[in-house]
């Protein structure tokens, strides 16, 4: 049990230290942590939550989702809608009833699906519920039809792509290409105050820790054992009388909900949410965080998310012209040299055999 507490404790500790140094030390001081670092750390942790969600389905049941960023973004939008309402009359058009972009489109009253979003609680619930509901609807069909492997990966990609196009449309009532931004405060606390930002960082760390422990309990349970069994030999579980589709569906929905939570925290700290969050590239990147960290180990996923994003931050500033080379090389290197990711370096037990060549066709057809 102690080992299981290690990761969350570590994350929380770092978060608190950063927040503390940011607030308690003078801006010029040597120990001072700039609000830039704080918000950056917050962002990384949100991505870590997404990575955890993805690892649950990919690492433990072998469902590769190339559309998980969609659930993340939906959570973000739900929270974004609340933050939008919080702006109230402080928007550009000083319109208390409508968000700026609706005024701009010449709308006169709030669409029904915006009702209730001026309450934080509603938004928070929706941030979990909406992704979960979508995941349920999608998974219900997909897993029943035994769509798997590559096929599932590709239609999840289609899913997020379709959502991206949909949210681009201004008529959707979610701010079109610009999405939602210029948020003022959450629960009356100014979003741009260092204290709030620090608080959000700490809370994100807490949520991440909670999610981590929950996920750990899940995969530790007999349910979790069945998941791994499905990953290793789906047919066998069927002949043992299990219904893999049911297990997949449950974990898929849970995963989507977790992603949603991550998104909700993300939008508060990044201050903008727009359709580009649905871009297939984002989902693929998330998969890569997990791959780099090591699928099938929860802490690996967290590690991967933080490391890759840190690398990205650093690269884009240090060598803006060439960072893509670095990132690309990283992905190739990891998949070639560390099939089990960084976690694989510490993993005990035999390395999982790779299926014999030719299994591809089967994998494809499954």
């Amino acid at each position: 049990m102690r080992r299981s507490l290690l990761t969350p404790a570590l994350v929380l500790g770092v978060a608190i230290v950063l927040a503390g140094l940011n607030l308690a030390t003078p801006a010029a001081g040597a120990l001072h942590v700039s609000s830039y670092v704080v918000s950056l750390a917050g962002k990384y942790l949100c991505f870590a939550i997404l990575a955890l969600a993805l690892d649950l389905v990919w690492g433990y049941v072998g469902i590769l989702s190339l559309g998980h960023a969609a659930f993340f973004a939906l959570g973000g939008y739900a929270m974004g809608m609340y933050l939008m309402r919080e702006i109230g009359a402080r928007g550009v058009y000083a319109n208390a009833r409508l968000p700026d972009f609706m005024v701009f489109l010449g709308w006169h009253d709030l669409p029904w699906y915006w009702l209730g979003f001026d309450h934080f609680a509603v938004a928070a619930v929706m941030a979990v519920l909406v992704p979960a509901a979508l995941a349920f609807a999608f998974g219900w069909f997909a897993f029943r039809a035994r769509v798997g492997g590559v096929y599932l990966a590709i239609i999840t990609q289609a899913l997020t792509y379709a959502l991206m196009l949909a949210f681009f449309r201004n008529d959707m009532g979610f701010g079109g290409n610009n999405g939602m931004t210029d948020f003022k405060d959450v629960l009356g606390l100014p979003l741009h105050a260092d204290a709030t930002r620090a608080a959000l960082l700490v809370i994100t760390a807490l949520v991440l820790g909670a999610v981590y422990l929950a996920a750990r309990a899940l995969v530790g349970s007999r349910f979790g054992k069945v998941l791994v069994a499905v990953r290793d030999a789906e047919a066998r579980t069927r002949f043992l009388g299990y219904r893999p589709e049911a297990y997949k569906l449950v974990v898929w929905v849970i995963s989507a909900a977790i992603a949603g939570i991550g998104g909700a925290l993300y939008v508060m700290q990044v201050g903008i949410i727009n359709p580009s969050e649905f871009a297939p590239a984002n989902s693929i990147e998330a998969v890569i965080w997990v791959a780099v960290g090591g699928r099938g180990t929860l802490w690996g996923a967290v590690l991967g998310a933080v490391l890759v994003n840190f690398a990205k931050t650093w690269f884009t500033a240090a060598l803006p012209e060439y960072w893509l080379f670095g990132l690309g090389a990283l992905f190739i290197g990891v998949t070639l040299l560390l099939p089990k990711g960084l976690a694989g370096l510490f993993a005990r037990g035999p390395v999982r055999r790779t299926a014999p060549r030719g299994a591809i066709a089967e994998e494809g057809a499954r």
């Binding site: 503390g20 402080r90 550009v92 210029d182 260092d194 903008i272 727009n274 884009t316």
Partner: protein, 437 residues
């Protein structure tokens, strides 16, 4: 649960920290150190096509300034970052430029959404952003200087030209589905109706980003244009979608003499990516063309070719905007004698520098520029042949007079008013701008 937690933790932390204030962007500059200038343009991803050139032009301008001995006796140091056409990354990088690199001014952004995503950061950290691209207006931040055109500095004169010279009576407003085209079309629609154009003679069409199969839509335009009245297309189609659009125009044999297309986002840079022979005569409205025949422009182009080591590289309107913006910033800093944001922001208003078309650009109290409007026809040499130019300079209308909520607003950052959205009717500072004050 989350909310309660947030409130509690925040309260606790505030107690621990006392009052937390954002450090000004350029805190305590020591006289010897170089002055950092942030360059925030996408060098990868979809927007790299347009933005990379602006990064280069900034490097050139900074190099030139250093050759002239820098600024306030200090060297200028460009800080280039790559926001990778990723909007949240724009915000992150802006924050880095201001709070880590302590950039005295940042030149960057192209798309509206990128500007929107960095805006809160600049206002929070009290930085200075120079935004060089024509945009939809409806914004007037104290921390942003809009060196591109507002809708009235591009669209209206173009339409006037077509009505007059082109005798156009029927209009297709085709755009990419995002805020800039929608605002522009909103304004144009109102304007056209004002001019007595029947609603039946206006066709508005929106397409997604990077739209590449224009067959049906071009055919639709063709059909719309065959109703016996002279028809023109006003295109606010963005970036990637333009090349396939014009190629399809060429294929379906729509010549400028049949249905002229006037574009607001197609400049020399975009033309460089097309075979312009089929496009001869189609128009664009800008505040600058490479073909402008003035000594300043010739000098600028030569300098550019030397710097980029490629005599084929074109210049375009946003480059001129950066040229003007940078020179204005230099002037303002010299005027203020410091790079401290507040001083510079105040000093900026009223500064005027030569533009590249033998005129002067002045920074107005609404943080927008006065600009000439040029109409050019595409020539077979990939350049624009200037066929019309507004007699005087046009002052930007940052707030659309055609949107009920904003028709009474003006931006004026001069003290004592200092308001980005001042309502002249109620003579109150609208909440939208109030926060900037």
């Amino acid at each position: 649960m989350l909310g309660v937690g947030l409130a509690a933790v925040a309260a606790g932390l505030r107690g621990a920290s006392g009052t937390a204030v954002a450090a000004p962007a350029a805190a305590a500059p020591d006289a010897s150190a170089s002055i950092k200038v942030g360059v925030l343009h996408s060098l990868s991803g979809t927007m790299a096509i347009s933005e990379t050139t602006l990064k280069d032009v900034m490097l050139m301008l900074i190099a030139d300034q250093n050759a002239k001995g820098g600024l306030l006796g200090r060297k200028l140091e460009p800080v280039v970052v790559d926001p990778a056409s990723n909007w949240p990354l724009f915000a992150e990088k802006a924050r880095q430029l201001l709070s880590v690199d302590k950039a005295a001014a940042v030149f960057g952004c192209w798309t509206s959404v990128s500007r929107k995503s960095v805006l809160p950061v600049f206002e929070e950290l009290n930085g200075i952003l120079f935004y060089p691209v024509q945009y939809e207006g409806q914004e007037c931040s104290r921390n942003v200087f809009y060196t591109g055109a507002a809708p009235n500095q591009q669209a209206i004169p173009a339409v006037d030209y077509l009505m007059g010279e082109g005798k156009v009576q029927r209009w297709v407003l085709a755009g990419t589905d995002y805020v800039y085209p929608r605002t522009t079309n909103q304004i144009l629609e109102a304007y056209l109706k004002l001019k007595g154009v029947a609603p039946a003679d206006i066709l508005i069409n929106y397409t997604p980003f990077g739209f590449s199969d224009w067959q049906t839509i071009v055919a639709q335009i063709k059909a719309f244009g065959s109703a016996g009245k002279k028809t023109a297309v006003v295109s606010t189609i963005n970036g990637d979608a333009n090349v396939p659009f014009y190629k399809e125009l060429g294929n379906q044999g729509i010549k400028a003499t049949d249905i002229p297309v006037v574009a607001f986002s197609v400049g020399e840079e975009e033309l460089a990516g097309m075979d312009t022979k089929p496009l001869v005569g189609h128009l664009a409205a800008w505040n600058y063309f490479e073909s402008v025949d003035t000594p300043e422009n010739t000098a600028f182009i030569d300098g550019w070719h030397k710097f980029i080591k490629n005599a084929k590289r074109t210049t375009n309107d946003p480059m001129e905007a950066h040229y003007i913006g940078f020179n204005m910033w230099v002037k303002a800093v010299e005027k203020a004698g410091t790079i401290a944001p507040d001083a510079v922001i105040d000093a900026m208003i009223g500064v005027s520098v030569p533009n590249l078309s033998a005129g002067y650009a002045a920074m107005m109290p609404n943080h927008h520029l006065t600009k000439p409007v040029l109409i050019g026809e595409i020539g077979d040499d990939g350049q624009f042949d200037i066929v019309s130019q507004t007699p005087g300079l046009v002052v930007a209308q940052e707030w659309s007079p055609y949107v009920a909520e904003t028709k009474d607003l003006i931006g004026d950052w001069r003290k004592p008013l200092s308001c980005g959205a001042f309502n002249v009717k109620t003579s109150t500072c609208g909440a939208g701008g109030g926060k900037h004050a």
